[in-house]
């Protein structure tokens, strides 16, 4: 995925866009940092990272108990005119990304927004697709896809249940 991002954004070229990897908590945040490290390793350019909590923009807040909020941390200088790559662990209905796009709009006006996900499990409910996919994972709608990350779960792995 890091190679794909370097190639598609040409971020090591002289006229490179100002790329920011924005992780969506909880698991998108460490994934964004990992991707940034890989990109730095392969291209020599370290993209900036941030986190964007989308809870306040969700359309399902009234369909469950109170959701705790997560950290939002924009890069210094904001997101205006940057190429934002949203990073999340699993792409499912697309509703989280819809919320993220709304949240971004309130923080500023990026030059463009792209999406990178570790797992695309299908079953979209909105016209949203990812620009970079780690793995396409065919699933039944009733199944759960759980991503474990060393930073939070003491191990790496993807589980279908």
């Amino acid at each position: 995925m890091a190679h794909q991002i370097i190639e598609k954004t040409a971020l090591d070229a002289p006229s490179a866009p100002d790329v920011v990897l924005m992780g969506i908590p909880s698991r998108g945040a460490p994934l964004a940092r990992r991707l940034a490290e890989k990109i730095a390793e392969f291209s020599g350019t370290t993209p900036r990272t941030g986190t964007l909590d989308v809870t306040l923009y969700r359309d399902d807040l009234r369909r469950g108990p109170t959701r705790p909020l997560e950290t939002t941390k924009l890069p210094d200088g904001g997101i205006d005119d940057k190429l934002i790559i949203l990073v999340d662990d699993v792409l499912f209905s697309g509703r989280t990304i819809r919320a993220a796009l709304d949240a971004l709009r309130d923080h500023g006006r990026p030059q463009a927004v792209q999406l990178a996900v570790l797992v695309d499990r299908g079953h979209r409910e909105l016209p949203i697709r990812a620009d970079y996919v780690g793995k396409n994972l065919p699933t039944a709608k009733s199944e759960d896809v759980i991503v474990y990350l060393d930073e939070m779960d003491d191990r790496d792995g993807v589980l279908i249940r």
């Binding site: 306040l56 923009y57 807040l61 109170t66 909020l69 950290t71 939002t72 709304d102 309130d106 500023g108």
Partner: protein
Amino acid sequence: MKHLLSTERIDPDTATAILDTADRLKQALLGREVRKLPTLRGRTVITMFYENSTRTRVSFEIAGKWMSADVINVSSSGSSVSKGESLRDTALTLQSAGADCIIVRHPASGAAHRLAGWLQHTNTSVVNAGDGMHEHPTQALLDAATLRDRLGSLNGRRIAIVGDVLHSRVARSNVHLLHALGADVTLVAPPTLLPTGVQNWPVTVSHELDAELSSLDAVMLLRVQAERMHGGFFPSAREYSIAYGLNENRLRLLPEHAVVLHPGPMLRGMEIASVVADSPQAAITEQVRNGVHVRMAVLYHLLAHEEETA
């Protein structure tokens, strides 16, 4: 959470969750172009103030508007209250008109509890924004948020609440909340300004401000509430100020990290000297700023979840 009526017997986890939400909201709003969140779109919040207020009413209104709720303000003058309508009828009217949340301030202690009782079988939430000499929970939450910003954790911190404890709903709410969060609370006041039954509160009581200052992490000053005083609670304003006012000399006795709080409105020269109020140790403007985020957090915890049928 359905209502927020008091901090007595508040679950420490719930209190911490609200404070964490307030922190995150502050962070989410930091440096943005559009200070508006869509979270409470289509929800209606009505403030119902039977007593004067600047900061509480305004910060609730801003809190609601920043989260896209529709906020309507009702005050006792200029509404049917001045024609003699009872609290109950007014509340039921507002509920029928479509209020998802009623924020009430009333001169009678217990008014918010009564109101919540009348609205028990509806989906309307009630927030106590100050009821007589009883409680003012969102003030205590914003004080705790301010103290957390300055001191980190409240666990084991020594905090003195100084002055007119008898008439203070702020003191009552703070005693319960700070105790729940693990702080060690001392009340400092003349015996005439302490309520009966204070020996049953989870606090220590002192009548000597100077003796306490050097060991404090925070001192919270209370306004001397002349409007609730009918009779001689202390000999003169000057004498009160000499014995219990936080002046420049006393500020020097406080540890350097200690925080000075005042819920406002301040009587400069009475319970707090002007230089103290404007000193870097005073967190009074931070309290107001935190007030908006804490009230947003309270509205979030009351309104942004599936409906509870009580």
